[in-house]
Point group: C2
Amino acid sequence: MKRVKVSNNVIRRLPRYLRRLDELTEEGVSRISSFELASQLGLTASQIRQDFSCFGEFGQQGYGYNVPALRAHLASVLGVDRGFTAVLIGVGNIGRALMDNFCFSDWGFRLTAAFDIDPRLIGTEFKGVPILGMENLEDYLAENKTDIAVLTVPKEAAVTVTERLTGHGIDAIWNFTNVELTGPTSDVIVENVHFSDSLLSLSYYVAERRDEATAKAEREK
Amino acid sequence: MKRVKVSNNVIRRLPRYLRRLDELTEEGVSRISSFELASQLGLTASQIRQDFSCFGEFGQQGYGYNVPALRAHLASVLGVDRGFTAVLIGVGNIGRALMDNFCFSDWGFRLTAAFDIDPRLIGTEFKGVPILGMENLEDYLAENKTDIAVLTVPKEAAVTVTERLTGHGIDAIWNFTNVELTGPTSDVIVENVHFSDSLLSLSYYVAERRDEATAKAEREK
DNA sequence: TAGATTGTTAATCGATTAACAATC
DNA sequence: TAGATTGTTAATCGATTAACAATC
């Protein structure tokens, strides 16, 4: 279906488009031009049309885009309708927060099981998802085709667990540990959620702004 | 101190450099060339030298970079030594997970207080951080200079709380709600941690790989 | 029909890569 | 000294922006 190699930058913008289109749907807006959408997202109309054109022709001259139709197209491009399955490894704070708050099904994912080493958790359910013992991981993956693993184990366990995951049909790892898995892990797609990277970028921008304010004050003295 | 406008791409790479340098320190490596660092991070040596040159001259011809010195320089560029202070708003799952697992002080931040509306939490402490009632937010900020707010409230409360935060000396919001704060919120720096964006990008890459595999199978048939 | 807005081609801009003189 | 590797300038590459014919 997808032919052309789409750039990373485009792919990273797609979820934002989807989110904005969902908000527009909530607001009852059913039609939008690239110009208007651009102004709402702080982008240019050109860029938006270029981005969409990677995946087909979703608009109509003189009219713009139909919001629900465009939403559906982009969702499909992102794979939301493919019924991907996921397991979560490590029912600690972050793992539980995800199971409790994050609506996997909103994005087309089915969380089929969670794994932990804590005997008090093993055998229980959380929000309908069974929590199994880590020792059953390989068996489970062999019996239940699973597309991605959500990695929410402690830092120390990250590498070992990753090794156990690869070669068992997992296509991708959604990595919440602060460990750099990207390099060595050969064939598996890794998507990192690095809290500290995010905070440090924020820190940079705050520091930069402070320096600018200081510099300005100096000049005006 | 910082003169030139540094591109976003560079800023986003800095935390990765820092992380890798920390790992090298742990491994006892005290010296590294741009070439070697590049290979470990999947970048080019040129790019790394270009990136660093935005902030000064940290290396030495014929030798490379001293790991601890470079680490210290980059940390300083990121503002790790500025003693920024933070409050956390919303001690739910994600909020508690951050307070429990995320080591703010590792990155130079001091978490001074948390806020919630749950009377069972108000007045208690979590890991030495006092949990105060939301009604005291403005007073607290007036009395305690605070640089950033960590926003971990439910989706519904995001906009209201953001409005209460702006105009009280907060420079930046670290936004964990899945709400797009970027557009309207005027003067405040917003750094988003959008789990769903991350998962959807991952989903795209998995879908793409599947399509490629299918296409390959078709051709070989 | 006239006005609006698309999809796409061409132009511009910025970021990455290559090359090399400087020098430890 | 000779070898290695930096910082930086120039060349290349890719992404964003502008422009416009096509057309709803």
